[in-house]
């Protein structure tokens, strides 16, 4: 159920992002979703890829600072208020969202949103109990 997300430390220097995507491309690793958080000095690139183990290996070889975090992918009804329902469930169960970002592609009629929680197990249990569809990891990396 948990999806492996790769995070990469990137200094604010021109061309740095292209170097990351270049390394992945050369190794035939496909990026499924991404988000870039930035400050004035550095950024953190977060990626869901089709082969995270390989991505981790090749990025480390190229001296990038990387880490693996567990996130989940949730199917959200693609209609007004769809996201609110989910956030309310989390709120009631005292689970904090550290950050989230949306997949570009859809899964059937639903939008897909990636969530990073302070307590992932609590989040999974709260969402499942309330009938929210959490996408299997395989499903996410092959969307």
């Amino acid at each position: 159920m948990k999806v492996e997300q790769i995070s990469i430390f990137i200094e604010n220097k021109s061309g740095r992002l292209a170097e990351v995507t270049g390394v992945l491309g050369e190794n035939s690793i496909n990026i499924r979703a991404l988000s870039l958080a930035d400050t004035s000095d550095f950024g953190i690139l977060r990626l869901i890829v089709d082969d995270s183990e390989k991505a981790l290996k090749v990025l480390r070889e190229q001296q990038f600072t990387v880490s693996i975090t567990h996130v989940i992918g949730v199917a959200v009804s693609d209609s007004p208020g769809g996201l609110t329902t989910i956030l309310q469930i989390l709120d009631k169960n005292n689970v904090n969202v550290e950050y989230m970002y949306a997949f570009v592609e859809r899964s059937g009629d639903n939008a897909v949103i990636i969530f990073r929680f302070d307590d992932i197990d609590e989040a999974i249990s709260a969402l499942s109990k309330n009938g929210v569809k959490i996408l299997p990891s395989k499903r996410i990396t092959t969307i």
Binding site: F9, T39, F42
Partner: protein, 435 residues
């Protein structure tokens, strides 16, 4: 082990009377042979015969690095060039190099003092000494080399650079002792890790590290990463080169200065006054056996204090505390004195932070700005911005708490701060020098 029992454990009284005798000889010699000293003694109204006790040393004028530059290259030599068998020059980190000449006896004494130093660090003839100090004009390489040979150890004259080859030789030759700068020892550990070599499992047991100031925390880091005892050695080319003083492996607490060859004093760097024993100030050294270029009250710019209490190793020679900085390295940021070593100690105290840092100083209008660049590694990295910002805020706050200086902290990618194979370049000062 004590190399020269007779001299290293000489009772204080005998040591001091030997110092006085040698000081008097040196003062007479420089007054007669070096016009610079004749003039500077005359200016102070001092004659060699006025030096009747060790306390009279205070009456003599200082010798500054600038005096050596002004007499470039041979002006301070006290013997004719025919008697000089070796010429070295300082690494010139702070300007034009200063030139030093050695007579045959100077080389012999230097070798003796380096042999004492190797023995104090627990090294003997069974050791394989991997000498990664630079060979050349810099005194480190040859100084350590001669001393290691006198001890009877097998010396590998590696010199600096070519780190992968250094590691190969270290593995294949079974080096047991490493001599290099402290920052280079950490760099060796880092490259070893990249190459998949477990440097902790090699035969190395001792590192004799010097030529740049380093902190106690850095020692702990080196000892843990290389699985060795890290021994601090002190020297400066103007006085001798490496081997002016060293820590004994028994105590690892303060560096014994070989007092039968040098007289150390601690002064207030601003007033020039000699400070009472135990107070911190600038180290001043007078050489009392050198022939080529004897120096009277040379201001080293190194900040330390003298420890005269007896040491558990049995040596009677006074110790200096681990250097807290070189006053030349001292930065003045908005009126506050900042030593790079202080920033280093802040970084070492934060879990997971690597000792690779650089200080960038700029002037924005009339205001000095200090930027501290620190490398992020997998231990400190997080996918959450707030954790990384927390790290940089913590560094900023700790520096502010310790030094009273506000700085900007910039987290940079690993291995982007240039690794040095000699002395680490910690400071980039882009302020325009006012001349």
């Amino acid at each position: 082990m004590i190399w020269n029992d007779d001299f290293e454990t000489l009772p204080r009284e005998a040591l001091e009377s030997l110092q006085l005798k040698r000081l008097q000889q040196t003062v007479e010699k420089v007054y007669a042979a070096v016009p610079f000293y004749q003039k500077s003694f005359d200016n102070c109204g001092i004659k060699p015969a006025d030096i009747k006790s060790l306390n009279d040393l205070q009456k003599l004028p200082f010798t500054l690095k600038q005096d050596m530059r002004d007499s470039y290259p041979y002006g301070l030599f006290a013997v004719p060039l025919e008697q000089i068998v070796r010429i070295h020059a300082s690494s010139g980190t702070t300007g034009k190099p200063t030139v030093v000449g050695y007579s045959r006896r100077d080389i012999d004494n230097w070798t003796e003092l380096m042999a004492r130093s190797f023995a104090a660090a627990g090294t003997d003839r069974g050791d394989i000494i991997h000498n990664a100090y630079g060979y050349g004009l810099f005194t480190g390489g040859l100084g350590a080399h001669y001393g290691a040979e006198r001890v009877g150890a097998s010396v590998i004259p590696m010199s600096g650079g070519n780190t992968k080859k250094q590691l190969m030789i270290m593995q294949d030759f079974g080096s047991t002792v490493l001599t290099c700068t402290p920052s280079y020892s950490l760099y060796l550990a880092e490259v070893a890790a990249e190459e998949g070599i477990d440097i902790r499992k090699l035969k190395l047991k001792v590192g004799i590290l010097g030529a740049e100031p380093w902190s106690e925390k850095m020692r702990q880091e080196i000892e843990a990463k290389l699985n060795i005892k890290a021994i601090d050695i002190y020297g400066l080319s103007e006085i001798l080169g490496p081997g002016v003083g060293i820590e004994c492996i028994e105590a690892q607490n303060g560096l014994h200065i070989w007092e039968d060859h040098f007289i150390p004093e601690i002064i207030n760097p601003e007033t020039g006054e000699v400070l009472p024993d135990g107070e911190k100030g600038e180290l001043v050294i007078t050489t009392i056996t050198k022939e080529g270029i004897p120096l009277i009250r040379y201001r080293t710019r190194d900040i330390t204090r003298l420890i005269k209490e007896p040491c558990i190793c049995g040596r009677t020679h006074a110790r200096i505390e681990r250097l807290s900085g070189r006053s030349d390295d001292m930065l003045i940021i908005r009126g506050v004195n900042v030593f790079p070593s202080q920033i280093e100690s802040v970084l070492f105290n934060i879990e997971g932070v690597e000792p690779h840092y650089q200080l960038i100083v700029e002037r924005d209008g009339n205001l000095d700005t200090l930027e501290v660049q620190v490398e992020v590694n997998e231990q400190t990295f997080s996918d959450e911005i707030k954790i990384l910002q927390g790290l940089s805020n913590k560094i900023k706050k700790d520096i502010k708490d310790l030094l009273g200086v506000t700085c900007k902290v910039r987290l940079v990618e690993p291995k982007t701060i240039t690794r040095s194979e000699g002395k680490a370049k910690r400071v980039i000062d882009n302020r325009q020098k006012e001349s």
